[in-house]
């Protein structure tokens, strides 16, 4: 008998769960501070839990550093700077950084899984974006260590000393790489504080630093909350503060270091415009909108959170966007098919929910994708608001979640004005098929990164940083070195 030719094999074809294997990772129950290449119990004797935001389960206990612990770390960094790191040749320093990069690559899978466990970001992103970019950042800057005289034509490069670095929870390992790699290449030593909800990958990086045989004290990692960060900022023997986080905290830091010798770079908030013209490659623009606002659950300082669509294509773009949102998988960060993972913390979820409430109260029209959310953990549906104007709170304030505001525009002048109508100036997106218009816009948009016909792209060679209240200084590329040189 012949086989049958049924027109439909199954009524529905859905993806079976595809969980990433977690057996290969090694996590301690309790993590100490990493000072002078040793694991040191905090003199505070205090620890705090770090949880998996997708399950609300505790992953490990993390040491909470106080002023005395930070002092110990800074002293170690100072000693290492004075006695070892500043005496090594550029080539020797480069060798160490290369070694770290290679060892990170070898343990990339473990890093990816731990990053997803601790931060809630989907494994697809930690595996394909965060971890490779972090490794590549070390590779890139390793090669600069013996070529600093080419880094800035106006200066004879000299390192600064001890760099205090405070990083956020949205790209935990990647931000650590953005901070540590150029600092070391430029000849500085480091005291780094990871964000309190996402310390684990920085501590795993400490293991690698130990294994790589980096001289003791060159990199110190002190975990803790805001008070730990404040202790770094206020420590008199720190030469440089590099901070990524909110504009509010950035301003507090900037005030705190006035009158000191500390230099600073600040990578702060944003409310970036993503602009779609009627001649844009519409389907790719829709992908760019999705990538702009839903990448990493919208926990991205340069997220394209203010969408501007030319009025004559607005209906079509919004319809396509809604339809595309329905094909986003929200759920278990460790499932290889998950597009949108967990919100990083309960507090952040509450903040996002507050803004969604405000948006509704302001009279904007809400649309959320119809996906079902896991019963446990912190999750948020992809959300967009239409009928928004610049005067709406949700179009002015940084939400830091998967929430898009959509405004329409009619003319070029109008959209340039509105796009720049913000105290922030981190990034912008422009979608049009017309080359001359792209260059007109990219020069008129007051933002440090402009993505034309693409969005949310990052690369170690590409400088990143903002205008206006989005901070100052650049990270990445040749321009990222000057932040660590005098």
């Amino acid at each position: 008998m012949a086989n049958t030719n049924s027109s439909k094999i199954a009524p529905e074809w859905n993806y079976s769960p595809a969980p990433e294997n977690t057996h290969h990772i090694r996590l301690e129950k309790k993590y100490q501070l990493f000072i002078n290449n040793e694991w040191v119990a905090p003199s505070s004797k205090k620890y705090f839990p770090t949880t998996n935001p997708a399950t609300e389960e505790v992953l490990a206990e993390i040491a909470w550093a106080n002023d005395a612990d930070v002092d110990k770390a800074v002293k170690a960094a100072r000693k290492a700077y004075r006695e070892v790191w500043s005496k090594l040749s550029g080539a020797e320093k480069g060798r160490y950084i290369y070694r770290i990069a290679r060892m990170m690559q070898e343990r990339a899978r473990e890093f990816a899984v731990i990053e997803s466990l601790d931060s809630g970001k989907p494994i697809r992103e930690s595996r394909d974006v965060d971890i490779p970019l972090a490794c590549n950042h070390f590779f890139y800057y390793a090669g600069w260590a013996d070529k600093l005289e080419y880094a800035s034509p106006a200066k004879n490069p000299e390192s600064l000393g001890v760099a205090g670095q405070i990083i956020p929870w949205n790209f935990p390992l990647l931000m650590a790489a953005w901070k540590i790699a150029p600092a070391l290449a430029a000849g500085n030593t480091v005291v780094l504080k990871p964000a309190e909800t996402t310390s684990l990958t920085a501590l795993k990086l400490a293991e690698i630093i130990q294994d790589a045989g980096l001289p003791a004290g060159v990199v110190n990692i002190v975990t803790g909350h805001g008070d730990t960060g404040a202790a770094i900022v206020n420590h008199p023997d720190v030469d440089k503060i590099a901070f990524t986080g909110s504009t509010n905290v950035g301003k507090i830091i900037q005030r705190a270091i006035i009158g000191t010798r500390k230099k600073s770079t600040l990578e702060l908030g944003g409310k970036s415009a993503n602009i779609i013209f009627d001649d844009a490659p519409i389907d790719q623009a829709v992908e760019g909108i999705v990538n702009g606002i839903f990448f990493n659950q919208g926990h991205v300082c340069c997220a394209g959170s203010r969408l501007f669509v030319q009025e004559n294509v607005a209906e079509r773009v919004i319809q396509k966007l809604k339809s595309r949102m329905e094909s986003l998988y929200v759920g278990d960060p460790l499932d290889k098919n998950t597009d949108i993972g967990a919100i990083n913390s309960k507090e952040q979820l509450q903040t996002i929910q507050k803004y969604i409430r405000i948006g509704k109260e302001e009279g904007a029209e809400i649309y959320q994708s119809g996906c079902t959310l896991p019963s446990k953990g912190y999750f948020c549906r992809p959300t967009l608001f239409t009928g928004v104007s610049q005067s709406h709170v949700i179009a002015q304030e940084e939400i830091f979640g998967p929430v898009l505001t959509i405004q329409t525009f009619r003319t070029l002048d109008e959209v340039i004005q509105k796009a720049n109508n913000s105290p922030y100036g981190l990034a912008a997106g422009v979608w049009t098929d017309k080359g001359s218009r792209i260059f007109n816009l990219t020069t008129k948009l007051r933002a440090g990164v402009v993505w034309a016909n693409t969005y949310n792209k990052f690369d170690p060679v590409s400088p990143f940083g903002g205008y206006k209240e989005s901070g100052f200084g650049r990270e990445g590329g040749i321009h990222g070195l000057s932040a660590y040189l005098k």
Partner: protein, 285 residues
């Protein structure tokens, strides 16, 4: 009998009196009043910032070559009025040799930056070889409006050393002149005025630093503040700058000539664009 000149301020390409109606006298070494000078107010700062913002678009979009031409024109005009500047400096008690040297250096500085106008971008920009199918480059863009507090000594040279690199890079400026030696700054405004510099690109106010500098530092539409060390005032100015994260540059080194005086007042903008690789049968698609 000498005509007692009233030095007016320079805002938006005009020479108004201060809106406050206040003046202060400048005396020579013997105590004889040389001139009356405007004691500018916060409102004059406000007006100057409005003029500077208005001028920013046009000035920053001028071609680099054109800005260089205009800067060179400034140098020519300055050179042509050397005698007047030397006299003015000497009137304010500066020795002849010092005055001559200062004016000479002032001309040199302007010529130096005129030459940079169409070169700094090439030196400080980069094409970044990203690991994806994108063309990526970083170029400099002017920050916007620069608030400048000119140093008290070397009143002409100091003003030029801080203001000229700012405008060389396409910024516009609001300058507080030397409080003690203000005369040359207003004469320099006349040079700017006759050198094709569009109105509003450089605005020059005279008056008390203690009154005007805080107004600059706290102004939310000024993008950067540039000064030489200002003593006690410095901390409160720095605090005000944090309000809108104004970039705050304090130049301690007396040698004030170099590329960094331009590039400090520039933002690095990075632009990405996809590269389509299309071929015939050998194409990958």
């Amino acid at each position: 009998m000498d005509i007692l000149k009233t030095y007016k301020i320079y805002i938006g390409g005009s020479f108004p009196r201060t809106e406050s109606g206040r003046y202060y006298p400048i005396a020579d070494a013997t105590g004889k009043t040389l001139a009356n000078v405007c004691l500018s107010s916060r409102k004059d700062v406000r007006n100057a910032v409005v003029a500077a913002r208005k001028a920013f678009g046009g000035w920053s979009e001028k071609t680099a070559f054109n800005r260089g031409q205009i800067l060179y024109r400034i140098a020519e005009m300055l050179d042509g009025r050397k005698g007047q500047f030397i006299d003015e400096l000497m009137d304010q008690g500066i020795s002849k040799s010092k005055a001559e040297k200062e004016v000479e250096q002032s001309v040199d500085r302007v010529v130096y930056y005129a030459g940079w106008a169409d070169k700094y971008q090439q030196v400080a920009s980069s094409v970044n070889p990203v690991s994806s199918s994108h063309f990526n480059f970083s170029a400099l863009e002017p920050m916007g409006i620069i608030g400048i507090i000119a140093p008290q000594e070397n009143s002409l040279l100091g003003l030029i050393e801080l203001a000229i690199p700012a405008i060389c890079g396409g910024n516009t400026a609001v300058v507080v002149a030397s409080e003690s030696y203000p005369l040359c700054s207003i004469t320099f405004a006349e040079v700017l005025h006759s050198s094709d510099v569009p109105g509003g690109v450089v605005n020059i106010l005279t008056g008390k630093v203690a009154e005007l500098a805080p107004a600059l530092a706290g102004h939310m539409d000024i993008n950067a503040l540039v000064s030489c060390p200002l003593g006690e005032l410095q901390t409160s100015l720095a605090l005000s700058c944090v309000e809108n994260l104004k970039r705050n540059f304090i130049y301690t080194d007396p040698n004030r000539q170099g590329l960094n005086f331009i590039t400090d007042l520039q933002e690095v903008k990075t632009t990405w664009h996809p590269i389509e690789s299309i071929g015939g049968a050998t194409s990958s698609y």
